[in-house]
Symmetry: D2
Subunit: 363 residues, 4 copies
């Protein structure tokens, strides 16, 4: 259960890595939103493997829009997007039929469901994130109509020992996706690219951090007490494969701080509008956006699938040493960037609809 995400703008996904297709159903999108098929294709292509520094599987990932769009606009009906799986070498995975790979979902899926779908991870495969990106693209279309000033930029901020600057005002999605490692910081990005290739050669992998900045955020998004904006982002991000941590604004650094230095004092900006001088809160106070940029970070573990020998478990309860064949990414973060972006968009679209429904009576 629980294959739907969102409360009003609601994404349901289905499909396994080695089944016939992966799909997304987006329910709750208002009618009349201009539907931009090119944007959908672009967002999916930004996620696609077979690019520099990611796995070599080559999948067209052509999206087929099955419903909910008529004469170029959404109709209020659910929008279904289907993407066929075209490149499925299940035989690569045959040796895994009885093995549980370390730090993978093999063991826990088998424990929970009594089923071992050994073909590339089954439902737990990163291929499911394709449906998230499709949903995020529709969320982007809705947000463009509702809040055209919104600007979501996700960028790799850390990869192993390499640290890059985080996205700032003026950075765009193009800056990110022109970078093979999805990093707005050109210099650090070049080093990261080299590091990924080095790890690939050594059959190893690396962890990293994706940083997000959302500019142009309206005030009043987020539903206390149990739909706070920060809690919704945390949930969204930790639902991504390999995510190990989430922090908002100053994040874990606040543990070492005092209130007198961490509080965000109010100031009047050039236009005489009340805002905060600093943004340690990351744009959210009391679970509600305050109009400052949203700032958060997501930590990803190194991919578990590495070419080296490791200790696997077996269905019969024993352990064996085994090296997994197949094509694998040395880094999750590079491919996680568009997924982090999509989940951010999905949360924002949902919060925007919740504000339309609730919020102040007169709105």
């Amino acid at each position: 259960m629980n294959n739907s995400f969102g409360r009003l703008f609601r994404l349901t996904t289905f499909g396994e890595s080695h089944g016939p297709a992966v799909g997304a159903v987006i329910d709750g999108c208002p009618a009349g939103v201009p539907f931009d098929a090119d944007l959908l294709a672009r967002d999916l292509s930004r996620r696609r493997p077979g690019q520099a520094h990611t796995t070599e599987r080559n999948e067209a990932d052509h999206p087929e829009v099955m419903s909910g769009v008529f004469e170029g606009r959404t109709t209020g009906a659910p929008i279904a997007v289907l993407v066929r799986n075209s490149d499925q070498r299940s035989s690569d995975y045959e040796p895994l039929r009885d093995l549980f790979r370390p730090s993978h979902a093999d063991f826990t899926y088998a424990a929970k469901y009594g089923v071992r779908d050994h073909r590339g991870g089954g439902r737990s495969s990163a291929r499911e994130t394709l449906a998230r990106v499709a949903g995020g693209a529709v969320a982007r279309m809705l947000l463009s109509a509702l809040h055209p000033e919104l600007n979501v930029v996700a960028s790799v901020a850390r990869m192993g020992p390499m640290i890059a600057r985080e996205p700032a005002e003026g950075d765009t999605g193009d800056d990110v996706y022109n970078s093979p490692v999805r990093c707005v910081d050109g210099e650090a990005g070049a080093q990261m690219g080299a590091y990924v290739e080095e790890l690939r050669a050594r059959g190893d992998s690396t962890g990293g951090i994706v940083a997000v900045r959302v500019g142009g955020v309206p005030t009043g998004l987020g539903e206390p007490i149990y739909g706070k904006a920060n809690a919704r982002f945390a949930e969204a991000m930790l639902s991504i494969n390999g995510a190990m941590g989430f922090e908002m604004g100053a994040g874990f650094e606040v543990a070492a701080r005092r209130g007198s230095s961490n509080n965000d004092p109010f100031v009047n900006d050039a236009e005489g509008v009340l805002r905060t001088a600093s943004n340690n809160s990351g744009g959210v106070q009391g679970g509600i956006t305050n109009g400052m940029p949203l700032v958060f970070r997501v930590a990803f573990k190194p991919p578990s699938s590495i070419a080296r020998e490791q200790r696997h478990g077996t269905a019969s309860g024993e352990t064996v040493v085994h090296a997994v064949a197949g094509r694998h990414d040395p880094s999750i973060v590079v491919r996680a960037v568009p997924v982090v972006e999509a989940m951010t968009l999905l949360v924002l679209a949902d919060l925007a609809l919740q504000r339309r429904a609730g919020g102040i009576l007169q709105e």
Copy 2:
């Protein structure tokens, strides 16, 4: 909207800090669970202010069970717990009527709802957490019946510069609550206690980290893709006032690691059961518990309410320098410990019921 938490074991809360009462309605608890009124009272008393190192408000916090219990057992009907607010000095807050305190929810609530409930934070007050603790106590009763081996321990792991060891096997709730700063590490705890008093004297506050360990966890809890155990914990923790970050297992440290050292290799334990040698995953893989202890951390900011002068905003869009009177904690983490524990229990109860409903057919 969104004042309910949980999908099957569902907590709804209501009440403001300076209204007549705060309440919790727990829906979805199966019938026949022994209801332990003493445990409820104990858990609420563990959260109560007026103890060492927390604010000096003194509230009896006597829980009144309004429904759902008959002859000592739950009946399957919703369980409502009401706690009257007995100590309300709203006049303390009168000077705040037109002020937005920095890093507080005043500004965002006013922006979202068009209402400025200046009396101690209104709905955004930490007093709401009382209802969470009541819900957590009922979750604890259910879990005691379903999974008696479960053992949740939350402990302050950091406070400003002071770092304590995290909870380990053998630590108990009594160890935590016998410590005035809610820390299983006696030596570090003593230093933290002194630090809190020093900050109180200086009119300042400190951030910190609460670490959680859950032992005796069954496998198979967590519902991929959008109800993963780690995502549910992240959402739950970030919904707590002042939480700025969440990490599971090795957390943000993984950003610097390689897969070859971060993966958790399988081993056979003394009883011949398959488990992992390390626990960098924090007990969750693919969103599902693997039977290892759950390990996560929550970062809390320093309380925003400090005695010093700060720059406040006003409803008319100006800024003023003001020092807030009133009684305030120098640290959130001390009082957050039972709330973190309660939210952990609520998530676990919910996941346990989801596993009963779904999971394997034969269960």
Copy 3:
């Protein structure tokens, strides 16, 4: 589970007939709605027993508003209403401790929950409807602000052999509640009153029908496919104790009709607005309101509790002949009228918020 009703405007209820209190928590009401405490008290008094033709229990039913209202307006926080149970003669029910009354919920609650709460029906008691009426009153306040032209009138349309005219344009709630049997048809109402007293004297009870008419309905309420207005009303009505049937517009009569006579042809009204000449659809087409009055009916069974001897079951699986003591209504419909009205208001408030969130982008 499932003690909440509604998707955006959401009512959660708790409490048993012989526990300390019954309560309602309304979540999702936008901020800024004028809160009319007198209207709440009036609606509750309209439901109260101890009036002509209903049971003789006398309960003050004084509502205590615990949260969500500040300076006369809703704040966006959940609104909790508590009503103490003041008149509890549990001893009346002591002989029932081991008996299952025929056509009552005793047997099924015991089968489902393993608990026999014999005190007046426990959670299944009609006293729970008090919380619905409280929720309905808040829904009425919201709807008054959003759609001031809305006018919900429910009236007893049948009682045993007596048939009354259904509510029509111009009928008001006052007309209904000035009638002891809650009937807009004065003559039929007088006969019904006499019939109720006759049945009371004979220790018997009667079934009946409540008819509802909602005028001033905006178009566009209802969310196909699984949130259609008619389906939501059906669900709402069948959730009321004793409801056995629901029909919309021409209802069951359509089974005998042909399309050529049942279709509602379009006409232009005096203002040149497109509407339908007839209203066999009852104001809903394709699950969405069309601007015509909403028309539906709910059938209620005769109350199961009668003074005569009947065959009861026992917990040990036997049957006994027994006459139940206690005070009971000879008719559900009289007291059901305000409950039907409340459920109608709750559905309408929910649909109105859903339309705000979804619907057309430009709204």
Copy 4:
């Protein structure tokens, strides 16, 4: 919004009549359920048009299972079923581009969404019910495993003036689907068949009633207060196109009855089990199944699409007289039978999972 049905066993549907496909995503089905592809195909074929007495559109309706099944069993992942639309004569509908057909959803969809999808009803088309039948087939597979004794039979009980006996013990689905008009009563069914053809010739249509009987029902299904079994069935049935009424057990007849004759007295059956002598409650008391057969009826209006001239509305607010071309059923009930059956199965599967999750602790 609201294109999902069910709380734990959850169906999401998408697709329009003249788009590329219609689809169903079933989430919440436990793992390990034997997946019977033949049963799925059979249930879809039972619904398919192009059979005797239904419209002449001929669609293969071949279901493609996209996910959630591996080696013949469900995996716990969502099960998606896609059915392509192969026979789409959109041009038939071109004259309708600016017309609102009477008693159709054209007008209300346009009012709600600002869109006029004239191609055969768009989302409001009965073709959506194909996805329900697919979901119902999966529900049937789950129920076969959980409660093999369950037996759902739906049958046409009335069509215009013709009345048939309702399904009784011993009737099977084969009896129903061997009848061209889906009626267990052979004689009445033959008359109905003739009546349908007579109406077709005259360009008219008829209303009717579908009656349902579910045998082998376990006790304890249904979640009071807002998830009662009867309310769930009512909601499910009224969500079907053309449904105008729902009644359970004795239904609307109870309005004329007295309690002394309507109550279902307890008796001990041959095996010494407590049951009720009559079944006026239709198998549900207090919202929970009591082990007796579930009995309910659904009234359907005559199809609005008839060949005769009728008064249509236009988008510019005028009315015109127009006769609609195209192929249309003279009766909804014949094709509604498998849909009613599917919705019944979906509710039962959902209630069965809710009982697994909640209910008594020891289960």
